[in-house]
């Protein structure tokens, strides 16, 4: 069946070109933020923020503001709550996860509208990416790259040893807050494009694979970005060939590589 739909034909369509562009741009944000999420052992963070922002979506529909504003507001709010919870951040993440989802459902019920638009936030629509989506994610990438380039050593130190960083006069609260806000923006931005499920996968899995094969944070960010781009591009074209939903194929492909890497890592460490 691949013969009937050559991959090269796919690139002739604007929607495919957009999907390729957004996949590459999203991979940069995912690789960098995903690395920080992984090394800070906060893999529930992406899911938590994304579900919390669902509450913001519901509220936005209820009071009639732009959904992106509602979602972003709730995402940043929940990120700051997680930051304030400090050592109990795991509990805070779980609580916000559930609360956001529940609030979203209640708000939508009250507003009396069932919006098909809402479903696209859950499952995304990689094949319906607009030019402004690409612009937003591009701006997000530039913001993340600037922050990480300027504060790399602080992000590394706070992630590795928060207490020691404080002793060295690093504003640890500010750095953690900044990380959580960037994570929130990334989650919301990508949720709109790729859907909630794929955000969770892309923010955790490529970085987790990269962690097994790198010994510096910088290299882990680069490798995680490359892996995320590889997975989403190959998933996208595989989905095109097989005529399957791209988001789901990308996640399955990513998961397959992840579990294979774990097996390789296990064998490698048993040999030593």
């Amino acid at each position: 069946m691949g013969m009937e739909k050559p991959v090269i034909d796919a690139l002739g369509y604007t929607f495919m070109q957009h999907a390729v562009a957004i996949s590459i741009l999203a991979s940069i944000a995912c690789g960098i933020i995903g690395t920080l999420v992984t090394v800070n052992r906060m893999s529930a963070l992406a899911g938590s923020i994304a579900h919390a922002s669902f509450g913001g979506l519901g509220l936005a529909y209820l009071i009639g503001i732009h959904p992106l504003i509602g979602a972003t507001g709730f995402a940043i709010g929940s990120a700051l709550v997680i930051g304030a919870a400090q050592k109990r951040s795991d509990t805070a993440m779980a609580a916000l996860w559930a609360t956001g989802m529940a609030a979203g459902l209640v708000f939508i019920k009250i507003s009396g509208t069932y919006s098909a638009d809402l479903m696209s936030w859950l499952f995304g629509s990689l094949l319906a990416v607009s030019g402004s989506d690409i612009l937003f994610v591009g701006i997000l990438d530039i913001l993340i790259l600037l922050v990480i380039a300027g504060l790399y050593k602080e992000f590394l130190a706070v992630s590795y040893d928060q207490e020691y960083s404080r002793l060295q006069g690093v504003p640890t609260g500010f750095i953690r807050g900044l990380f959580l806000v960037l994570a929130a923006l990334t989650a919301v931005m990508l949720m709109k494009v790729t859907g909630l499920i794929m955000v969770i996968a892309m923010l955790t899995v490529p970085a987790a694979i990269a962690e097994m094969f790198t010994s510096s944070l910088r290299m882990m960010m680069v490798l995680a970005s490359i892996l995320a781009a590889l997975f989403s591009l190959s998933g996208l074209f595989l989905a095109w060939i097989l005529d399957l939903p791209p988001g789901a194929v990308i996640i399955l492909l990513t998961a397959m590589v992840y579990f294979t890497s774990i097996a390789i890592e296990k064998i490698r460490s048993n040999q030593n």
Binding site: V39, R41, G150, L151, K153, E154, L156, A157, S159, Y160, D161, E163, Y164, S165, R166, L167, Q168, G169, V170, P171, E211, T214, S215, S216, L217, M219, M220
Partner: protein, 269 residues
């Protein structure tokens, strides 16, 4: 000689109404090498954290070389070697870790300078772990991690070195070379060492303070009675049984630090 650390009427804790430390008065002179001993849960680590300014005193005050702890400059004058905890996999090299000791000398939106890097390299060499500089911390042995953490503390060029349970997770041989190293450093740096293991340190230090919620005793010699009171039970001293100061001085005659860590320059007993 001036006091390096002065603690006056210190009370501090984590939960209201439950002080971990009560009315501590302690003066550590410059170039002292003091061990703070006491049972687990007696407040030793809390005392270190109060000295470092990581927790605020409820009552009383702490001054470092005459200045209050809070300021960044004062903190920069102190090197801290935390208790070794079992490492988790983290993408950080030995060099990355030692450079963290220079964060206080650098600033936001700046890269580490050549001076920061050479300070890190110098201290890695000094501790005999420069060949590990590109290795992930995760793959180091307990003794190697210990040296890296000391190198990190020294990279900031501190006047005072504070160590929390430094001998808890290293073997006997490593302990010996470790104390020789500290004796060398003590020529120019005040050293405060916290431990629950009286036997392993008493022969190497100049002074000992016993702490169990409050200061039990402080002096150059350590009586079995004071230790027993601190630990709340009879305690048999397992140190060498001779006045520790003499042994401590002997160690200062040791050969260079590098030799000690390479294992070919052992000091005689």
């Amino acid at each position: 000689m001036n006091p390096a650390i002065e603690i006056r009427d210190l009370s501090v804790g984590y939960r209201t109404g439950k002080p971990v430390l009560n009315n501590i008065n302690l003066t550590v002179m410059q170039n002292d090498f003091i061990a703070i001993i006491g049972p687990n849960g007696g407040g030793k680590t809390t005392l270190l954290k109060a000295i470092l300014g990581l927790i605020k005193p409820w009552k009383g005050k702490i001054t470092i070389e005459g200045h209050p702890v809070a300021s960044k400059a004062v903190r920069a004058g102190m090197g801290y070697v935390p208790q070794l905890i079992p490492g988790k996999l983290f993408p950080v090299t030995v060099m990355d870790v030692v450079l963290m000791g220079r964060l206080g000398n650098s600033g936001l939106f700046r890269h580490f300078s050549a001076a920061d890097r050479s300070a890190a390299e110098k201290n890695l060499r000094r501790l005999g772990v420069d060949h590990l500089s590109n290795v992930n911390m995760y793959y180091l042995s307990g003794g190697q991690k210990q040296r890296v953490l000391i190198a990190r503390a020294l990279a900031g060029e501190p006047d005072i070195l504070l160590l929390d349970e430094p001998v808890a997770s290293v073997d006997h041989e490593t302990q010996e070379s470790f104390f020789n190293l500290l004796a060398q450093l003590n020529d120019s740096i005040t050293i405060v060492l916290v431990t629950h293991d009286v036997g392993s340190v008493s022969a190497h230090v100049k002074n000992i303070a016993c702490i169990n919620r409050t200061l039990i005793s402080h002096g150059e010699t350590l009586s079995a009675d004071a230790v027993s009171r601190a630990y709340g039970c009879p305690f048999e001293l397992i140190s060498h049984g001779v006045p520790h100061r003499i042994i401590g001085q002997k160690h200062q005659e040791g050969s260079s630090i590098e030799n000690n860590f390479n294992g070919n320059g052992k000091t005689s007993d």
